[in-house]
Amino acid sequence: MATVKSDGRPFATRISGPIITAKGMSAAQMYEVVQVGSLGLVGEVVRVIGDLATIQVYEDTTMLKPGAHVECTGAPLSVSLGPGLLGNIYDGIQRPLPGIEAKSGAWIRRGEKVDALDSEKKWTFEPLVNAGDDVAGGQIIGQVAETPLVMHRIMVPPDISGTIRSIAAKGEYSLAEPVAVVETGSGPQDIMMMQRWPVRVPRPIRERLRIAEPLITGQRIIDTFFPIGKGGAAAIPGGFGTGKTITQHQLAKWSDAQIIVFIGCGERGNEMTEVLREFPELEDPRSGRPLMERTILIANTSNMPVAAREVSIYTGITLAEYYRDMGLSVAVFADSTSRWAEALRELAARLEEMPAEEGFPASLPTRLAQFYERGGAVTTLAGDRGSVSIVGAVSPPGGDFSEPVTQHTRRFIRCFWALDTGLANARHYPSIHWLQSYSEYSEDVKNWWETAACDWEDLRTEALTLLQREERLQQIVKLVGPDVLPDSQKLILFIAEVIKDGFLAQSAFDTNDAYCSPEKQVALLRIMLGLYHRGRDLIQDGVPLGMVRGMECVSDILRAKSALSNKELDRLADIDRRLNEEADRIAQQYVKGTSCYG
C-alpha cells in the first residue's frame, strides 16, 4: 500500500469520479453524511463492507488523493425545515444558490458551505397552544406568516410528544431560539421554528385518504380530459422539445396548489433562471400575489455533480411533505425523473453493481415506486387534510416510450400525459396526445366538477369519442381520400379539427389563454359540441357540409380561447347565441330553398 495512515482517522483509498472508497469506516452508518479532504467535500456513505466504505460525493472530486481524510458526521443526509424556504432556490443538497453566489460568485465552487435557512432572521411567531397542553408529534403549536400567501405552521417534530412546559409569547424570534419547551418522557425538549429531517425517510402521516378534488391547472387538455387529483401522481413523458418543461412550468404557475416545489433535476440552467425571473412577476390568479411567494426551487442542473442530482429528488419531496404536514396542498414537479434515473445508473455502474435493463440498476422500479408513493392525499399527524401531488417528466431516449424508466413509471402513476413529437413538430402545444394519454382520476374528481357543471362528464366523453372516431376516419382518408366519406362523417373530421385547434391547443405564451378557468373550459367545449349537434341536424336535413363550415361563428369559436379572457364568459354566451341563430337561419333558408326548387 502506498499510503499508510497512522493517526487512526478514516481516509480515502480510491477515487473514481464521484465515487470514493474509504478505510477505517467500520463505525460508519449507511447513508451517513461525511466530509472528504481538506475542502470538506460533502458525501454520503452508500455501502459498507468491513472497514471499507463506499462514498458518493456530491461535489467534484478533481485532485482528491488517496489518503485524504474522511470525517463522519454521524447523521444521515437531512434538510432544514422552517420559515424561509419559500421563494428560495437550492441545489440538490439544499445549499441556497443565492448564498453560494454571495460567497463564490457566478460559478459554484466546491466545498462551499452555506446554511439552508437564515438562522439570524427574525420571524413573528404566534403561539397556538398554552403551557400545560398535551402535544403529540406533528401537532401545530404556533404559526408564522412566512409570506403574505402562506401561513407557516410550527409543528412539534414527529418524534416528540409530551406536555408543553412553556411557550413563547407572540413576538419576534430567530430560528435558533426555542419557541416552546415540551416535557417528554425523557426530559424537557426545546422546540425551535426549524427542524431537521432525513431526506430518504418519508415524513409520517396519520392516514391516506381517497383523492376527491382535482388539481386545477388551467390547462384544458389536462383539467377536462386527463385530470390529476390533489394528491395524485402523473407522468409526462416525451422526446426533447415536446413540451415537458413548458407544461410543468405552466402547472407550477397556474395550478391551485398552495405550495409549489419545482425540482430541476439534471436539466438546463437557463430554465431555472427563467423561473426565477418570471415567477416573482406573475400573479397567482386566485390571490393576486406574486407566484414566487408559494414556490420553492431545487436546481441541480445537468452540469452540476451527478450524485447531488440523485438526491435532489428526495430533497424536494421532503420539503413538500413538510408543507403538507401543515395541512396544505402541495404540488411537486420533477424535471426530469429520467435524469435522476440516469444518475442512479451512473452511480451504480461506478459501484460495479450488476445492471438490469439498459444498464439501470435492478432497484430502479423500487426507487421509482418509493418516490411516487411519497405523494398522496392524507390526514396529517395534526389531523388536517393535506396533499402532495407529483408530476414527473420522463425523457425517454429517442422519444421511445418502451424504455425502462417510462415503463416502470407507468406502474406507479395513475395519470399519463403522453407528449407526441408529431404534434410538437406541427407546433400543436401542449403536444399531449389525446388518444395515448389517460387519467384514472377522472372518476375521482367527477363529483367536484359536476357541482359546477352538471354536464362535465357528458361533454368530455362526447368530445373524446369524436376524437377517437376522427382517428378511425383518418385511416380511411389516408387510404382512399376524403371524397368517399358522407357529409355526416366529414363533419366529424371538421369538428375534431375545431376541438383540436380551438380547445386542445393552448399556448403558454398567450396572455388570455395561458390559464383557462374551469368555467371557460366547460363553456368552450359546450359551444363546440353545440356546433357539432347543430351541424349534424342540418346535414341530416340535407344541408351541405360547406354551409356548416362556412358559418360565420366558426372563426369566432376558434379564436375565442385567446380573444376572450376568463372574465368574458358573457361574450362566449354571445357566440353561442349567434351560433344558434345562424343555424336556425340556415335551416329555415334551406328548407325554404329546397321547397322552392324541390
Binding site: S302, R345, R427
Partner: protein
Amino acid sequence: MDNLFTGIEDRGLEYVGASRIEGPLVVVENVRDVGFDEVVEIRDPAGNTRLGRVLDVSGTHTVVQVLEGTTGLATKFLRTRFLGESFRLPVSRRMLGRVFDGLGRPADGGPPPLSADRRDVNGMPINPFARRYPREFIQTGLSAIDGMNALVRGQKLPVFSGNGLPHDRVSAQIIRQARLLDEQVEFSIVFAAMGIKHDVAEFFIRNFRESGALARAVMIFSLADAPSVERLLTPRVALTLAEHLAFDCGQHVLILLTDMTNYCESLREVGTARGEIPGRKGYPGYLYSDLASLYERAGRIEGSPGSITQMAILTMPADDISHPVPDLTGYITEGQIVLDRDLFQRGIYPPIAGLPSLSRLMKDGVGKGFTREDHPILASQLFACYAYVKRVRGLADVIGEEELSPLDKQYLKFGEAFEMEFLNQGEYENRSIETTLELGWDALSVLPQEELHRVSDELLKKHYRMKRDTGEAACAV
C-alpha cells in the same frame, strides 16, 4: 516544448514502467500522492512527451488516459510524471487570431501565450441564480432561422446535419452575417474542430479571412489525423478560452464546436477500453452528463457584459435524429437546427427542415420590442400551415394530387411558395428581419384568410395580402 504548455517546472517523481497498456489507457502501479483527474506527462521510448490524465486512482493502481494515443508505448520503458494539478490552460485575449492544437498548444509556429491566468479546462458549473436569461435577437440573415427558429445572444443552438449536407456552408454563413439589430458589436469567434478533415478546416479559415473575422477568431484544431482521445479535451480548451473572453474580457463570443459526433466517438472509445457497461449504441451511460458539462458552458451571467453563444455541429449517423448523439444533444441544448436531405436534394438552400427545427429561446427574444409585433404569430402560423402541407403531401402520394380538395391543393401551393421563396435563399444573401417577415406573409397569403386561425383579425388586416385571396380558395370542401 517541455512543460511549456502547462507552465509547470519539472517536479515530482518520475515513475518507470507500467503494468498495463490497453487502448488509450495506461495503468501505473504504486504511485504516490496522485489526485483524481491529475495531468500526467508520459515519455515514450523515443523521448517525446505525451499528455494524459488520471481517471481512477487508488493506493495501488492509477489509471491514466493518454490523450495523445498509446501507439508505440511499451510497458517496460514507460516514464510517467504526475504534474500535481488538473488540466489547465493559460488564457489571454491575445490568443485571438491564433491557431492551437486540440490540447491548446500553439499550432501556428507562434510562441505559447504568456499568461499567469491558468484555468482548469473542466470549468465550474454556472450558478443558475447568477445566470442572466438570454433575450437579444441575433439576426443571421437566414429566413428559416430568423423567422421561425430565432437565435438569441447566449443561446446554445446546434446544427443537426448528415454526411454530405451543407452544414459547413450554413454555419459559415451564420457566422458571417450574425449581428444584433441595434448594436454594432462584433462577435469574437472560437472555433473548435474535432476530427474533421483538413479541407473543412481550410474552408472555415478561408471564410473567416474573407469576412475579415480572422483577427478576432481563435482556432483550436484536433483534426481527423490527430489522436482521437485528444478530442475529449478540445471542446473544453475552447470553452475555457471562450469563458475568459466572455466573462473576464466582456466580449460576445460565438463558439463553434464541430463535429460533436466525433467527440462522442472518442468518449465511447475510452469507455470501452475501461470495460464500462455500455449504454445505447455502445456509448457510455454518462454521455448525457458529459455533453451537458460542455453545452451548459454557454449563456450570460448577471453583471458581466459578455456572452457565449454556442453552435455545435453534429452529423447524425444514417440521418437518424434518435441516435444517442443528436438525441442527448437535443435534450440539453436550447433547440436545434435540423438539415433535411430531401430539401437539399431538391436544391433548396439552406435546407433547414421546417418542422423538427426549434429554437427554445425564440419566445423571449422576438415580438414587440424585440423584432416586430407580428413575428411570434407569423412563425406559429407558418409552422401550423407547413405541418398541414406535409399531411396533404402524404395524402397526395396515395390518392394523387387531382383527387385533393381545392383547399388542399391551395395548401400545396403554399408549401411550394414557402419552400422556394421563404426558406430558399442565396449563400451570400443577407436578409433583414423585415424582409423575412414580409416573405412569410407573402407565403401565408397564398392561403385563404379563414385558414389562418392563429392570427388575430387585427394582424390579418395589417399583413394579409388581399389581392392574392382568390375566391376559389375560400370555397367549401
